[in-house]
């Protein structure tokens, strides 16, 4: 069932045999096609492995990737994507569920750890917190779509940058600014959502098992895909 994962591993190994230029050309195509994310994974990995095998044989005969796939790699990759069958709706739903579960797990554990560090390292705050269940639910409902949206933007950015020479400094600044803006958006959600009941008193340790359960659920979803 999960033959795609074997193909990915094999691809990782085989790719090392490519020359520097061919590897750069091929990896751009690979990342761009994989991140089209709405395509059948098995078919995607099969064609990527086909392309790699072809390039390796052509390379042995002294040909370059440009000679084999042309000098318009983006156009070529788009042509491939256009012919790939789509991902099943059920799989797509599982994919998004997995993403949300991983996000919630990371979020639960890191916010729990944050409080624990404040308490034990800096002697700040308390271990038992009053949690406004209503507020937490609303915050989560707002944060999940924001995170999905940020993830989407990031994927689009990586795809866009695949076939471009981007100034390293500019990229660093851009990513830095986006990071600050996203962080600001998260803080704003916490700041502006009003506190409302019901209130529960919860020891902060409880976030850890909750986070672990979410991680396990995410992991199980991933295995089903």
């Amino acid at each position: 069932m999960n033959y795609a994962k074997d193909l990915i591993q094999l691809n990782n190994k085989k790719r090392k045999q490519l020359t520097k230029e061919n590897l750069k050309y091929y990896e751009n195509i690979l990342v761009y096609i994989r991140l089209s994310y709405s395509k059948n994974e098995q078919e995607t990995e099969e064609i990527l492995s086909d392309l790699l095998n072809h390039l390796l044989e052509a390379q042995a005969e002294g040909k370059t990737a440009e000679e084999v796939f042309g000098d318009e790699p983006k156009q070529y990759a788009d042509e491939i994507i256009g012919e790939l069958p789509g991902m099943l709706t059920k799989k797509r739903t599982l994919f998004i569920t997995m993403f949300i579960l991983y996000f919630l797990a990371t979020y639960t554990i890191s916010s729990g750890a944050f409080v624990l560090i404040l308490y034990y390292v800096f002697n700040l705050g308390e271990l038992i917190r009053e949690i406004y269940i209503g507020s937490v639910l609303i915050q989560t409902l707002i944060l999940v779509p924001i995170t999905l949206f940020l993830g989407y933007i990031l994927i689009q950015y990586i795809r866009w940058s695949c076939f471009k020479q981007i100034n390293k400094v500019a990229e660093f600044l851009l990513l830095g600014i986006s990071g600050i803006v996203s962080f600001g958006m998260y803080r704003a959600v916490f700041y502006f959502v009003p506190k409302f009941s019901p209130i529960v008193e919860m020891p902060i340790y409880a976030t850890l098992p909750l986070g672990i359960i979410l991680f396990l659920a995410a992991h199980m979803t991933r295995r089903v895909i």
């Binding site: 033959y3 193909l7 094999l10 078919e43 099969e46 064609i47 492995s49 086909d50 392309l51 095998n53 072809h54 044989e57 052509a58 000679e67 084999v68 796939f69 042309g70 070529y76 042509e79 491939i80 256009g82 012919e83 790939l84 069958p85």
Partner: protein
Amino acid sequence: MALRSQLLKGILEGCILAIIARGSVYGYELSLRLQNYGLVVSEGSIYPILLRLQKELLIRGEIQDSPSGPNRKYYFLTEQGVAALQEFKKNWTDIKTPVDLLLSKED
């Protein structure tokens, strides 16, 4: 898309079916066969076509371990593929003779 490239694509599809009909091939092998017949196309251009032919169920791919390197995808013709090839052959003969005639009378 330009009529010219549409036409070429259709012909290339037919030729690929014809080659696969003579025995299963993997991608690189297929591009070599095409070149041996003097059909010089950019090697990479066969892959979008192979994907389309698979989607239309005219061919199917099977990953097999080969003696010279593991995990190659071999392509086979399906029954629908055989029928499509027959139709291509018929269309081709229907159009080939009149076009040849027309072009040769030009000068």
